[in-house]
Structure formats: C-alpha cells, structure tokens
Symmetry: C2
Subunit: 829 residues, 2 copies
C-alpha cells in the first residue's frame, strides 16, 4: 500500500482542488476506482431521489412536475461526504473482516445512511415493501420526509443506527459508549463541523482518556469539514491548518487530513487514509493486548474537507449552491414553478446514471459486491440493535442488603451507602456488561463501595498520590468525567448496544442533560413502533444531593424539577420512583436494573435517615407503589379526619414528624398516613400504565377529606398529576419546593418552603373541620416551636435534634411513648 | 521588564517545584515581593477563617473548639490560585489604569473573591456590619456558609461578581458577553480545570472568533490547573505539555504557562506573565484600532498550575492534603474531635501571621496600597453591577410595524418576519447596546431583516462566496454559533453588565440550556434581595420552529416543555407569553424589551398565519393578558354553553376553526371564545403577580361550563396552573402536545394529539349537556371530515386547504358567510 505520514503542510483551507492528504497512496486499482465511483453515484442518486421523487424513480421518463413530491423536504448538504466515508470503509470491513458500525453525527444526514442500507440490501430485508426493484424504490423514495414516513435523521427506523442526531452534539459520546467493553468493535463516527461547535461534542473528544485499548474497541472519528451549517460557515472550517491540527493533537489525536473535491484523487486519498487509520488502530490494540499494558495511544482522527453538497451544481443562476450553505436542505427548491430549474435537476440526477447503475431497478451485482455481507454490513450489525445482544444483568438477591428495621422509624441508616454494596456486587458479577457513570460525584454521593468491584477508568497520566485513595485504574467499571453530557452520552451508547448501566448525579445539575434525556425518551418511544428493534436496558438515573439537604451549597443547588421534564415524556417509557427509605431504595433499584426500554429516575437522599420499613414491608410497598402506612395511622381503617401523604424520603420524615406533633396536641385525631413511591400512581390509569383508577384513589385518599401532601419536588407536579382526581380540586394541599432557598439548615429550608413538620401540622389543623374551634392553642404552640427551632439553627449553624425523646412504635396503631429515645443527631451531614 | 517568550519546553506536569514559566522576568522588587506575599497570606488567612471560625477571628487567643463553627462548610482547594491571580492583576490595574473585572469559574471559590473584596474595602462599604476591625471580621467569618448567610460561590451578594459558578461551565461565555461592546474592559477569568471538562466551557474557548478587537474588550483567561475536582484528577492536568499547548493553540490562543509551588519564584513568574498578557492585549487592540482593521489575534491564555490547596499541609497523618483532592472542601474536617488536628489547623492559620498583618484588626495600610482604589477595584467595578450602567433601550413605536387587520381572521401574515423589522430598527438605534443571539437559526427563524441593521459577527477566515448572501462582518450585532450554551452565556454576560439582548432558538432545543436559564433565574431572584444590586435588563427568549410545524423534522424536534421548566422558577422573575398573532407578537416583544429583571419567554410560530387582532385590539388584549374575543363568540355576553379557549398561535387557529365547525352544525350554540397571551394569568394571584383572582377566573371561564382549552405545550401545564380554580377539576378539558409525533403534516400532528379543529369540536359536543341527544350526527360528520383530510394529507404530503371558502366576520357576533374566500394556502411553509 505504501502509505506514509507526511507532516501536514497543507495550508489551503479551501474544499476545492485535487486531493490534499496527510497520507499518500493509491490503494485502488483503476477498476476499483471506477466501481467505487459508481457506488458513490448510485448513493447520491438515491439521496436526491428521496428528496424529490414520488414517481418515476429511475427517470425512465423525462422528469416532470407530476413526479415530484408536492412538498419538498429533506437535506442533501452533508450526504456526499458521509456516503464517501461509509463506502470506503466498506472496503476495509471486507479486507480486514472488521466489526463496525457507522454513526452519523451531522444533522439531517439520513439520505446518506438510508441509501447505504438500501444498496447493501438491509433496507429491503427489514422493510420488504421497499424491495430492490423499481416499485420498491418508488416506495423507498416516497416515504422519506413524507407524512407517515421516515425522518431526515437516522431515526430508530434506520437499520444500523444507534444515533438519531436530531439534536446535535452526542455522536462521539454515543460512539465511545458503544465501544466500551466491545474490544473488536470500531465505531466509524462522522462528526459534523456544525455539531462540533456544540459544547457536548467539544468536550467529548476527551473520551479517549477513558478508553482502554485492551478491553474496549475503538472510535474512528471523521470530522467532516462540510464548511457550513444552516446559514453560517462553521468555525472549524475557517481556522488555519495549524490551529486545526493543533486542536486535535491537543485533544489527543493524530489528525489525518483528506481535502479537496477532485473525485478520482479524493477516492484514492480517502481509501488510503481510512486504511492507514484502521491499521493504526489495530497496531495500538495489538501492542496493548500483547503486552497486557493499557496505554493511551494517539488515536487517529480523519479530517475530511469536501464542499457541502459535493457533486451538485456550484451555482444555480447567480447563487452559490455546492460549497455553500444553500445546499444544506433541499438544494433546488423551486422546481415546481421553475421549468429551467426542473431541467437542471433532471440533468443533475441523470449525471449519476441511474439507468446504467440500476438496470433492472436493482443495483448492478458487481457494485453490490463492494459491500460486506450479512452482519458485517454496518447497516445490519446487531450491535446497532443492542436489544438483540442484551443479556440480563446477573444480580444478587437485593434482600441480602436489607437494613435491619425492627421498629418503624426506630433506627437511622445510610440508605445510599448501603445500596452501594448492592451495586458493588452487581458490578462484580457483570464485569463486562455493567458500568456506573457520573460526573465526579460518585464518592460524594456515598457510592464509593463500588470501587471495591471496579475502579475509575483513567488513561491519563498517573501521579504518586493516586495510590493514596485515588481509586484509578486503566481498567475499571466506573466512568467519571466532569461532563454530565459525556457521561449520559456514554451510558446511552452503552445501553443502545445491549449493555446495562446507571448514571448518578446531583439532583440540581441533572437539568444539564434535560434535552439528552428527552431525546433518549423519544428514541425509546419510537423504537417501540419498529418491529425489528429489540428492547434495550432501561436508562437508569439515580439522583441524590437532593434539594432539601443543600445547606452548604445553597440556592444554585436547589432544583428538583427534572421530574417535571421526565413526566412530560411518553408514559410508555418513563418511570419515577422516590423511595422513602433504604429498603425501598434497594427494592426500586433492583426493579429498575431488571427493566427494559424505560427511563427510570430514582430520587433518594444520601445522608443518614430514619428507616421505616423492613425489607418484607418495603417489597410489598414498592410493588404497590403507593400505600397506607397503618403503623403511622390512627384511623384504624375507618374514616380519617385528615390524610397525611408524602412522596420522597425527607418529605416522609417531616410528614411523620408532623403526625407526631398533631397527635401530641390532638391524641384523638384520626390520621391516615399514605406514602407514594411510584409517582405515576397519582395520574389516572388512562394516562399512564401505572396510574390508579379513581376508585383506587378514593379508597386511599378519600373523596372529601383534606389531604396534606408533602412532596419532594415542586408542588405543582402533584397538582398536575392529580388534577382530575375526585375532590382533589378542593381537598388536595400540596407542599413542596417553591424556589425559596438560601444558605439554610435543612429545617430552615423546609420552613421557608412550608414543608417542615410544624407547617404541615398547622396546615392539617387548618383543614380539619372538627379542629376549627380547638386548633388555636395548638397552632400557637407549633408556631412557637418552629420559631424556637429556627432561632437555634441560626445561632448554632445546625438544626436542633428535633426528634429527641420521640419514639415510633414497632407496629400497629400510633401510640406516643417516652422510653428508648432515638436521636436524630446531625442527619444534616 | 525584560520578559521574553520561550517556547514551552517545560515537560514536567507536576505542580511542585520552582516556577517554570513561558515568560521569564522578575518585575517585583524585593520589597514588593514581600508585600505581595503578605497580601497572599492575609487572603489565605481570611479564606480559612471563613471556613472555620465563628469567634476569635484574629487568633488573639489560642484556638479552641468553642471558636469553631459547629458545622464546618466551605471550600478551600481553588482559593490560593484564584487569590494569587487576582492580586497580581491588581498591580497591573494600578500600573496601567485598567478597567477590569474578575470572573471566578472554579466551583466554590467564594473565599478567594470574598477575601479580596474585604481586603480592598469594598465589602465593608456595602455591608457596614462587616467592618474592617475585629468585630466586623468576626461577622464576616461567621456569615460564610452559615444559615442565613452567604454561599461558597460568588453569589449575587458578592461585590464584583457577575458569575456565581454554582453550576459549572459558563465562566468564559459570561466573560465574553461582558466585554462585547465594552472596548476598554478586560475580564480576567479564572477557568477551573474541572469546569474545563464541561461541554459548555470546552466550546466557549472559540468565542474569540466572535470578538472584535476594535469595538469589544478582551478576556484574559487563566486556566487553573488545580489538578483535582471533588474526588478525581482533572483531564487537562494529566495530559502532556505538548497536548496542552497544542490544545490552546488549536483553540486560537497563545498559551503562557506558570507552574510550580515555590512561593517567591511563582510570584515573580505570575507578575511577569500577567503583565506580558496585558501588554499583548493592548498591543493587539492598538494595532486593530489604529489600522481600523479588525482581525483575530492569537489572544493570550495563562495556564496556571499550582497544587490544590496550595500552602496547606502536604499531608495530614498519612493522607495527602495539599496537591490532592482532599483539599477540595474543608481541608481538615475532624478538628472538633481531634485535638492534634485542631493544633495543626491553628499552626497552619498562624503561619499566615494574622497578628502582624491585621495589627488593629485591619489590614496593614501599606498592604492596602497594593490594591487599586474606587471603581478600579475589581470588587467595585460598576460593570459587575450592570443595572447601574444600564441605559433604557431606544425603541421605535412598535405600532408602526402593525400588520393590517381589517377583518379578524381575514388575512394571513408572517408574524415573525414582520416583527423582525421592529428588531432591525431597534438594532439600528442601539448599535452598541443591543445584540441578537442565536445558534445558526436566525435566518431560518425568519428574522433575517435584522441583518440590514447589523450583520453576523465573524472573525474567522472569509471565502469568496461569503459576499453572496453570507451577511458576515467583523463588526455586527448578530451572534451566531452552533452552541446554545455559548449564545446563552454571552447574552447573560451582556445583560449582567448593563446591556440589552434577545436569544432566538428553535423551541425543542432550548432544553439544551434549561439548566443555564434555571441558574440565571436564581441569580435574578437572589439579586432582588441584595439592596445594592441594580436591576438588569430581562433575559428575553424567543422560541419558534414550534412543535406544531415540525412536519419535516419530526419527533426529535417536538418538545414544547421549556415552559414547564420556566414555570417552576420564582414568580418574581419569570414571564411567559404566547401571542396569538402578529400584532400581539409586536406588543409582547415591545413589553419584554422594556422590562427588567425577568426571564421573558415568547413562543410564536414563524410561518404564515391567520391574523386576528388589529394593533389597537392587540395592545388591549396583551395588556390584559387574557380576554374574551367577542368577535368569535356567540354568547352575546350571556351564559355560554361552552367555553372554547386557546393559548398559542396555532392552537388559536385550530380552536377558532373548531368554533366554525361547531356553529356550522349548531348555529344556535352559545360559545364563548377566550384567548390567553400571558400564561401566568391562569395561576392564582397568590402564586404569581400576574395571576387572576378566582372571581376574575369565574367571570371569564364560568364556574360550571365545559372549557375546551387548546394549549400550545403539554396540556398538564394548564392543569397545574389552574388546578385550584373553581370547577376546573370537572370542567377544564385541556388539549396539547402529548408526545405523539412522527413525520406528520401539521394537521396530522394535531389529529394525533387531539388538538385539531375536529377533535376540539367533538370534545365540545361531548361536554355540552344540551347537545347530548343532538350531537351524534355532527360527531360522525366531523369524524368523517377528519378522516378525509387526513387521507388527503397522506396521499399528497400536504394538508388540504381546510379554511377555503370560510370567512371570519369583521366584528360583532359570529355569522357564517360565503363571499370573499380566504385561502389557507400552504401555511405549512
């Protein structure tokens, strides 16, 4: 092959001219060159066909307006470069028997990948109506960007896709996620130069610092300097060669340039460059695997600079088209009205020789031979339909990790740290199938036990002090980079290729990835409609460092609103759990890790907590998702005066303390205590599969009694979910976070937001009719106690131990006792 | 001064040892060196004091546990490096009379900036109780990270801060926003190496491609290689020098390294390097300004590598502290329990010589002289209290841009393109005080008229075709980079320093910056409690490319849920408007641009639309925020059978079409039509200043009639806002987006989600008691018409022109007529 690296002295930043490339070489014979160019033409023809044609798919007749779609939609600009990359990689898949997938990063590149899937035969296999003949081709064209059809991104309907790319920025993190623990896989990843401007993409280049060349596969990024976005030049296409090259060396890559528009020399340059990159990858992997020593090589990146809309007309009338932003979407838009432009389009399409390349409506067999076969086709690689490869997680019995709860609310415990032991053992049992992801918060989130089973992957330099509690290793199970975007992208890529995982994050900063989670929900939802897509593991998100314990971080760290974002997504795919204590947390986590095709969100505090339920009770409670807690109720199954309800662990603690206060003032009060674990229990069953019927709602909450509901998040979410419930309009009184925060102790923060025990008790008094005339004294006493506690906190900087000398009974009806005090010492932590 | 650039041959990446720096030089005399080191010590002492002490602030007595805060909170790790940078820049502010602000990027660096504000005297000026004496110092210490006190970030309470940094990633984009149109300002910006891993930060380095050296100021970034995050090493501190240097050359900067821990040589190196950087900045600016030719220089960046927790003990017991992640937060945590550690802390604190440096409880006067005075102090620069400098926007009369509406719903118009003319003229009138921001969507969003007043700023390379419709210039008013994060960060920085602006974005992808908007809301909310902070211009967000018109982009582009995120924020600072037509859009935009201290969100379609209100009517309607539209109502002010309500322009169009359908079947039906512009009208007035009273609600919506509410966004938001309204529980039926999407025509998408005219009419029929026995035939007819329209769309790829031959009357009561047809031709666009 005779390739050689020359230092990049290429100074022009124009996409035009004969190929200029770092790697020299002409690996293609003349005959191959011709064939590859024919494949290129066939693909480009299909791309235009998808955008324009509803009839006459092979231009057997002269093109007329009647053959056009009434409304023209779709994007051409990035297709030529993507096709060019895909097809030349096929040669190497065949030559080296590579296991590879293609990730299409640039926006709206679907015609590029759809055309490849069609030419490789995969498309017709999964969608037989789009057969490899004129009729099938016509259907293939018509459905594109057409009502009821498929989109202009690599949507779930696209064979071979794990990355839709509707919202830009995640191609690389998805690619790295896909190759973790897939040592033979190469993810050939097109990165658009528009996409490259996004923050998530810009930082995801650093993923190589977390890639082990022995146990992981490789990502081969191809940065496509297509030159333009929708209406603007791209930054990376308009900086000097020196800056561009430096940038990628700085990111830790060896950049290989392929630049120009001259077809023949570009084919050779791309073929040679891709082959060099593949051989470099194999060399690095071999070196690491044979020596058993993982290291961070200077991985190859290809920088492909071609004109946007390459091979289209450079100008239409006086306006630049090819090599300009005008080729971004439908390249010639007025073909319905402008006869001359219609002819220009026909001439352009015929320049791709559909008659010669699809003689019987089907691609010439000798061209088809250019593609790999079976699962080696990137459009048919089962890795991109990860559910097919998914093995259930091996899991220990979560009951083994139970916190001992002899007496409800009788003991304190660290729910999170305890659950971490469960995660640790899952990690041990699934050393190539499960990873924990998080932005540098795993230890802070009290999950450090997992490091016993899998250290933090780190391929950066090591210092002496790393031995002193660093928990770093070149091989591990925990992925920590201070980029929620990258962690989430990695996890999504890991799941989409058939594995299991969990993201842990501070609650407020999960909003950083609202949009990514939205997009993943949409992917899951749409995948349900695609019969050949197998279900993948759920995306599990564990939120802690919760709003109510942000005493030192203050206002910026107080936002429990991620639940509102998730609750807007399709009920088919979203689940939200707020376990009230440690055993419920275990039960929920077990459930979520076994599930598939959901986005599961679990919210739990990481600090010390009162424990309420034994493991057996917790399982029953979590399985129901909502329930009356008779051990904290005094209505003895009869009619209550008031329903005290809670959702969230800290909220539950305060609600129960309110029950205690109420009973200390009104020992005869009939209280029903309800706890909600599964938030979607609140919504009507017609709106979510977990929802209660109205009958069930009434049997729990009653239709006419006041409900004092203490909620972890913004109160309005409960109002929204329960808005149609009988009596909710009048009886439901929800307390939650209302953006009233500061540097506060937990109690002070609760008081500011009205979610503390005193406020809850007062609210109950205000709504129970029979306390109307009896309540004033109690109200005053509660108010005084609240002020006293508040002042004490202000004075000392910590909350007074409010539950001192209070005892919760073992079981049965509520009874206030005074022996065996339980101290709530510094649960603030 | 004798500094000289040496190519960075520094190969060690250890933070220890004598200074290694790109710039050589010893600008400080021995006496200066001593003084600066004394300042450094004084600052470090204050930093520790804030974390530990509630009494004995100057250690006049031996340190005992009683002097400590009961709960230790706060972060020390990044403080030394930040102080070091701040204080050495002070020398240059004085020497060159610089106008500068300091932006603290690293997480939890508040003690660094608070100590500087205190030492410069600013703190005592704005908070007289924290006076410059022992008593004031004690208060200054106690309030830090203490209930009711101030946080461990540079919160709004911090003089000189425009950047809190609770959530990481935005320091640089804020800094660039601050210096746009501030030609003499330098924003000295510390970027944490943890923060540098975030996506938003990683891409914001490219901001120099949008910085004009003539009309804008300069950002001097100091990347602080502090080495560690909470529990992990940082990526940039663990890559080779070559990679690090390349990365910043690639980003377009000239990196200057300052590395080491040896105090004396580090002082000299930092002083020399900062001075070199300042002179470079001035040289570039001078060159551009004198030649009148803007160019993109290789701006300086300083890479400061010092140990985390620098000057603290390297080890405590056997554990690394300084130069390790353990110094991140409270460096020695167990001083309450461990007498030995308490002594170590005392020894450490005394090593900073508080007795000598604060002889009478006040900093030695000769040290105070190191700081600039008055507004030259970075802690007192009015730029960082932008409201002080804010000039009202000069605005033309928005009524001049009115769309002519002689007959309600009688004409079509492009609301957005029309409003763009208003923006264009605002731009013309405020050429250094207003900018439009957006991620490459301004033209797509039909706002291109603005380019007549201000082109897109572009300091990258230019190509020949840019003249052919590129609208690029080195000086301009429109900021477009494909990073919502960077655009939002720029805008925030621009507003926080006293100017005006607007962000435009596709509706679905605004979720990308959910968390940034959350944080900005919190900044605004908290600022209201800080008496010396003047109000800044509102953050205005214009959302278009709305969910209902995503026919070609499909499911990934359908998410109207940003409103839910915003609605959770404090009612003091959030406003949401959904103008139903072009004149209302003008009125809302005018209102928002005049306002201050809000986050205003305006949602409007960019495609052609029916126009409903004349300008006079629009002003009245928008001023009320909600109202009955008598011209589309048939209840003649009496009791309606049904209330048809809408919020959102497309939703309004469909609702009105439903009214038309209903009346065609039931000419005697009493319909009341209500439109909502100001979403917060729906919430009780007790929860938001815009909210209606229940009496007002009932006078509009009635307490007992069915309300068919067509909403732009997810229906649950309306349920939530109106959950407590009389009768809402039973009568309110909200339609909106329910995550049911695909590649659909607008009508098909509406039908899938139940928000189309047919579904709305059917729902109305189902809920009006007196139609119970009369409704079946109409229901069937509507269903058939729906199916017919749907099939037509599927066949042709476009919606049938459903409003053909329909006419809306000029005024007064509804009457169906057949003359002068209005065609809804391709409003799909």
């Amino acid at each position: 092959m005779g390739d050689s690296i020359e230092s990049s002295q290429v100074e022009s930043i124009s996409p035009y001219g004969p190929a200029r490339s770092t790697i020299q070489g002409e690996p293609l014979t003349d005959e191959e060159l011709k064939k590859y160019n024919d494949w290129f033409k066939a693909s480009l023809y299909l791309s235009l066909g998808m955008i324009y044609l509803r009839q006459n798919p092979l231009l057997k007749e002269p093109l007329s307006k009647e053959h056009l779609k009434a409304r023209l939609l779709g994007h051409f600009g990035s297709c030529p470069g993507q096709i060019f990359t895909y097809m030349h990689f096929n040669r190497l898949i065949k030559k080296y028997d590579l296991d590879a997938i293609f990730i299409s990063g640039p926006g709206h590149g679907a015609p590029a990948v759809l055309s490849q899937a069609y030419l490789e035969g995969t498309y017709s296999e999964v969608y037989p109506e789009c057969s490899e003949d004129e009729e099938g081709l016509q259907k293939f064209f018509k459905q594109f960007s057409f009502p009821g059809g498929i989109g202009s991104h690599a949507t779930p309907e696209t064979p071979g896709s794990i990355h839709e790319g509707g919202e830009l920025g995640y191609s690389l993190s998805h690619a790295f996620g896909a190759v973790f623990d897939n040592p033979n896989l190469i993810a050939l990843t097109m990165v658009g130069d528009g996409e490259a401007e996004t923050g998530p993409l810009a930082t995801s280049w650093h993923s190589t610092k977390f890639l082990n060349p022995i146990t992981d596969g490789a990502v081969l990024p191809v940065l496509h300097l297509n030159g333009y976005k929708i209406n603007n030049p791209t930054i990376l296409a308009r900086i000097s060669h020196k800056e561009l090259e430096s940038l990628f060396i700085g990111y830790g890559y060896q950049p290989y340039f392929v630049e120009g528009d001259d077809i023949e020399t570009m084919h050779q340059a791309m073929a040679a460059t891709l082959e060099h990159a593949v051989l470099e990858i194999r060399r690095f992997q071999q070196q690491a695997r044979e020596s058993g020593k993982a290291f961070r090589p200077r991985w190859p990146v290809i920088i492909l600079r071609t004109p946007k809309g390459w091979t289209g007309p450079r100008k239409v009338d006086d306006k630049y088209l090819e090599g300009y932003w005008r080729s971004h979407q439908v390249p010639i838009t007025d073909v319905h009205e402008n006869e001359e432009h219609l002819q220009l389009l026909e001439q352009w399409m015929r320049s791709y020789e559909p008659d010669r390349l699809f003689p019987d409506g089907k691609l010439l067999p000798e061209l088809r031979d250019l593609a790999p076969t079976g699962v080696r086709r990137m459009s048919a690689n089962p890795v991109a339909n990860g559910g097919l490869l998914r093995k259930p997680l091996k899991m220990p019995d979560f009951r083994k990790y139970a916190l001992k709860v002899d007496r409800p609310a009788g003991t304190n415990g660290f729910s999170m740290a305890n659950m971490a032991r469960f995660l640790r053992d899952i990690m041990t049992m699934n050393q190539d199938n499960f990873r924990l992801f998080g932005p540098d918060e795993t230890e802070s989130n009290k999950l450090a036990s997992v490091y016993e089973a899998g250290k933090k992957v780190w391929l950066g330099e090591y210092f002496e002090e790393d031995e002193n509690g660093g928990n770093l290793a070149t091989e591990g199970r925990v992925m920590e980079m201070l980029s929620e975007h990258t962690c989430e992208g990695w996890l999504e890529g890991y799941l989409l290729t058939g594995r299991h995982g969990l993201l842990n994050s501070y609650e407020p900063f999960i909003h950083v990835i609202d949009s990514m989670v939205n997009q993943h929900c949409k992917w899951l939802e749409k995948s349900l409609e695609v019969p050949w897509r197998a279900k993948i593991s759920s995306l599990n998100i564990l939120l802690t460092a919760v709003v109510w314990r942000q005493d030192h971080n203050g206002f910026t760290h107080q936002d429990p609103g991620f639940l509102d974002v998730v609750a807007n997504k399709s009920p088919e795919v979203v689940r939200i759990y707020l376990p009230p204590d440690g055993n419920c947390l275990l039960s929920c986590m077990d459930h979520c890790l076994r599930s598939s095709n959901y986005v599961n969100v679990i919210v739990a505090d990481k600090q010390e907590h009162l424990q309420f339920l034994s493991m057996d009770d917790a399982i029953v409670h979590c399985t129901k998702g909502i329930g009356i807690w008779p051990q904290f109720s005094t209505d003895q199954g009869g009619e209550p005066d008031v329903v005290m309800a809670s959702c969230g662990d800290i909220s539950t603690q305060e609600s129960l303390a309110a029950v205690d206060l109420l009973l200390s003032h009104f020992p005869d009060l009939k209280i029903r205590f309800i706890n909600v674990v599964d938030l979607f229990k609140l919504i009507p069953y017609t709106d979510h599969p977990h929802g209660l019927t109205d009958e069930e709602w009434v049997s729990l909450f009653t239709a006419d009694k006041p409900i004092i509901f203490n909620f972890h998040s913004y109160p309005w979410l409960v109002y929204r979910l329960a808005s149609k419930r009988p009596g909710a309009n009048q009886n439901l009184h929800v307390r939650g976070y209302r953006e009233k925060g500061n540097i506060d102790t937990p109690l002070e923060l609760a008081i500011r937001n009205g979610t503390d025990r005193f406020s809850l008790a007062i609210e109950a008094i205000d709504h129970v009719p029979r306390l109307k005339n009896r309540g004033a004294a109690a109200r005053d006493a509660l108010k005084s106690a609240q002020i006293k506690a508040r002042n004490e906190a202000f004075e000392n900087g910590v909350d007074p131990p409010l539950l001192k000398n209070w005892v919760w009974p073992h079981t049965g009806l509520w009874k206030r006792r005074s022996e065996s005090p339980v101290e709530m010492t510094d649960v603030i932590g």
